[in-house]
Point group: C2
Chain length 587, copies 2
């Protein structure tokens, strides 16, 4: 996918990535795979059975985690995407996410720590003062200090505008911070020596709403004048008990109980949310990637089982003395496997579509930069939500393949089913992304992003039309895109006639529809490449491998694309039951 | 629903139920609700955090369970549906299932013990010898001895024909049993003094396949000549660690390791599976009912939260100083609530549709009996699978409403999400029911069951056409039923042209399609009653309650019925990708 479909090697021609080679990028992925196999997967089950706990006001995590973080630092995993000036390797974001995919498939919890740290450090790099950079970044990239995003508060989750944590300026330049933060991933742990929170708060007298939110570095321990670490009045009030990925804690933190919590402003006052969106947008692609990674782990575990577990016989075989057959030979089990494969590999393709555009938007100029930036922004709610929502279904399907065993801890399917359920919740719920897509992204710059995306998709459809194996599916995708455009125009008229609430009332369904078509596009792209490789009679890939892609593409167009019909039907309807039903009539 | 839609009180006119009154039936439900609220729900979380464990070869369960089983026995819950001659109260099956619904919503684990015991005792009642009845039934109904279904073996799950446990006849009339059984619900526990397994095994020399399977009573402890209990060589090899409903164990059992496990034949040799189907058919309705009960508990917990949790403001409200609003006021949250309500109350209606037909088939004669029996058989795969599959989605939606909290153990949503996942697996996986529906039920007696069902549905559609509020939806259902018939005919031609494998390859989708329409029918039935009650200006129900039903009906037809379009599209396709893809091309 990376080389054939997305030509990741081409990125090495860019100035920023010129020290890399395509082969070098592969080596990074191979190293990630070794690390994942040898060190992350072996502790997956143990981490699940021994969740983090609070002891004497601190969160204790799996003892192996400290060693892993040191390794992530020492071996350059935390800093791999950072610029050379910060000791990083300037690896493309696409490769960073591919590494995240590999590690996440092995043991999602373990990769939360380094990836969060990278994101937080990257924010300091981009917007922090020289002093903040010098103080925090080396320790974070070394895996000694953990980075976090400290956004959510008890009263401010989906509604970030309602953040109430405060920051009072002092004559010494720092601010005194007061507030509570909840659900802070890796917000406290004994795997590191210090925790560095990238925290949203309001400076005294700031405007109400999102225009009054600033961003601060708030460490758990702050370096004093002599450079020694002193407690910065960041207290751990609790650890949440989660349904899954028990290896990574989420913390409830209280800042400034003793009036001695210092925060250091990042960038300008009141612009915190715009800075934070750098980290959030990367994290949203990351969430999609993590959802696919867990879903892919579930897929492979069920595929392995389906090949070895025998049960039943062909429907036409009436002799009960004939041996039972591997369940993969039953059409319905193949359906359940192809469903997972089609969704997982389609989603992963959508992730790389986004990361490549991220890399291109950072390394190109002018129209090219703008185009990639706009398409990336448009795709972000989909790349976050489609894998997240679908991974609930695909991991559930993996579990189903195990029959009764699937419900037990004998196999990993139930663990992956629990693990992936977080992804429709963090980094914005699916509903938030539906509103982001329909309320902001589709209409921004007069619909420019949609137009640019459609041009690219139509070009891929044209390419696909040349192949007999693809022309039917390419035509279907073309028709569905027209239907999507029609629906979009219809909704715009709803906005005009009935107002913004009606316009957005089914935004989640619109997101689902757009997401299915975006993944359909990815399968067309993959299909074109597969047909080219088949035609070239390459020996690089086995015929079975190429055919497996063709079957997954067929599955997607036969079983998943039809789901758009019901969505289109509903989005065209003028029934507004979800608006009309008052709370007194939902009983 | 019970009184208005299904006229459950009418059953009291039947000879078998003549000692009951409609008010008396209500009192049973109220008693079940009190018991559930006071004794079952309070230990739900504790049971979840303290799963059963194996100690010295025995399974230990929650200490409260023994007391509960004694209460279930003492207060007549286990025997309520049993005939008077066995000390039962001859309560209609509909009421028994309604009690199961109430208890299951409170704490599913706790109701597994008594309901399994009832089913097992009922089987002995129906087919056992007088001696078996006298020996086992009183103890079981007293809650002192647990009943089980011991069907599954390591190599025989979906394929029951592959049961290999053996039974060797002895001169004393009993059989010596040898074999292993897995996933046996309540297969061992210290909540009772003895466990009575209704076990499938093959008598030496029996024919291969399902025609050689017999049914035995195999107690853990057998009464000796003096009536004292001696160990019957039924060993507990293990307890499975499950994802949910930790209060009820599933056991791995080994019978006859010391060659001293006695089994007592039920009915005739080799006819075991047909007897077992009595218990299985009841249990399948029970599974659907349990899935709805858990889904309904999840719905109410999310509804309660949505009414109290404030977050965000109306889309049109731009002032960040205005207070936040309860999330139930957001259209997307209402969508998530109405989705749950429409599916839960539609599914529950389908459960009662089935139980009423069960009661009518047992208490009527001639054509009436046959019609109810046939429709029940046709509905059984749907009433088992639709709630089971949909409860995965509805409990997931309940969890979603809690935002980040949903993923934590602060609230019950995640517990219900884990709990209900069993229901697509036990009592036949969804795939098995798809094949049962399309391969057996649709075609039995020349399609008689489908014809009889369609007549009833068409009559309800006609009734609905008279109401303005329903006529559109009634017409849609009518159109969809025609499409279903077309699809069925199309599939029959596939069977003729391509054989049975192709015919059944998408049976799971056919089951889904039929299930959605069956629940659409239930909403039309409920809708007719609601419109009648509205027209009658009754004071029995609040206007809000009646309107809540109307909104849920609208939701179902606006958001769920459209899903049939994609299913119909797929079922019409002649692409056979799930058959063509060989295991070497699923990678």
């Amino acid at each position: 996918m990376l080389h054939e479909v997305f030509n990741v090697g081409e990125l090495c021609k860019k100035e920023a990535f010129k020290e890399h080679t395509p082969e070098g990028l592969d080596m990074i992925l191979e190293a990630a795979a070794s690390l994942s196999q040898d060190h992350l997967r072996p502790i997956l089950v143990e981490m699940d059975t021994k969740p983090p706990y609070l002891e004497n006001g601190r969160i204790k995590v799996h003892p192996k985690m400290r060693e892993l973080m040191q390794g992530f630092g020492r071996d350059g995993w935390i800093s791999m995407s950072a610029p050379h000036e910060f000791g990083g390797q300037q690896v493309p974001f696409t490769i960073t996410e591919a590494v995240g995919f590999i590690m996440g498939a092995a043991n999602y919890s373990t990769m939360v720590y380094p990836f969060l740290t990278t994101g937080a450090a990257h924010l300091i790099e981009s917007f922090g003062t020289q002093k903040l950079k010098e103080t925090y970044i080396p320790k974070m990239y070394a895996g000694e200090w953990q980075g976090t995003m400290a956004l959510t508060e008890p009263g401010a989750g989906s509604s970030l505008t309602d953040v109430v944590s405060t920051a009072t300026p002092t004559a010494d330049g720092h601010y005194l911070i007061k507030g509570q933060k909840i659900f802070i991933s890796c917000g406290d742990s004994d795997a590191v020596d210090n925790i560095v929170h990238l925290m949203l708060a309001r400076i005294d007298g700031a405007p109400a709403g999102i225009k009054g939110i600033s961003l601060f570095v708030v460490p758990r321990m702050r370096p004093d004048a002599k450079g020694e670490l002193v407690f910065n009045d960041v207290n751990t009030a609790g650890v949440f008990h989660k349904m899954g990925y028990h290896g990574a804690p989420i913390a409830h933190l209280i800042m400034g109980e003793a009036n001695d919590c210092r925060g250091y402003l990042i960038g300008e006052e009141h612009k915190g949310l715009s800075y934070m969106f750098q980290m959030m947008n990367e994290a949203r692609i990351g969430v999609g990637c993590n959802a696919v990674s867990i879903a892919s782990a579930a897929y492979y575990t069920s595929l392995e089982y389906a090949n070895v577990r025998t049960q039943g016989r062909k429907i036409t075989e009436k002799d009960p003395l004939k041996p039972q057959i591997p369940i993969i030979e039953h059409a319905d089990v193949k359906r359940m496997l192809l469903f997972q494969k089609a969704v997982v590999e389609g989603s992963l393709s959508l992730v790389f579509e986004s990361t490549i555009r991220y890399d291109l938007s950072k390394t190109s100029e002018g129209e090219e930069k703008e185009k990639n930036q706009l398409i990336l922004e448009l795709l972000t709610p989909m790349v976050k939500s489609y894998p997240a929502e679908m991974s609930i279904l695909t991991t559930s399907t993996a579990l189903q393949i195990f029959g009764g065993y699937g419900f037990t801890k004998e196999f990993l399917a139930e663990l992956f089913f629990r693990e992936t359920r977080i992804h429709t919740l963090h980094e914005g719920t699916t509903a938030i992304h539906g509103m982001d897509l329909l309320g902001r992204k589709v209409t921004m710059k007069g619909g420019m992003a949609v137009m640019m995306l459609m041009q690219e998709v139509m070009a891929d459809i044209d390419r696909a039309q040349k192949f007999d194996a693809l022309s039917l599916f390419a035509s279907i995708l073309g028709e569905k895109l027209l239907a999507l455009q029609e629906i979009t125009m219809h909704l715009v008229s709803v906005a005009q006639n009935e107002g913004p609430e009606a316009y957005l009332s089914d935004a989640t369904l619109y997101l689902e529809l757009f997401g299915i078509l975006a993944v359909g596009w990815q399968w067309i792209k993959q299909g074109v490449k597969v047909e080219e490789l088949k035609a070239a009679q390459t020996k690089k890939y086995s015929a079975d491998f190429l055919q497996s892609k063709s079957y997954a593409l067929q599955y997607f167009f036969e079983y998943e694309i039809p789901k758009t019909e019901g969505l289109i039907r509903r989005l065209k309807s003028d029934n507004r039951v979800t608006m009309q039903a008052g709370k007194e009539t939902i009983l």
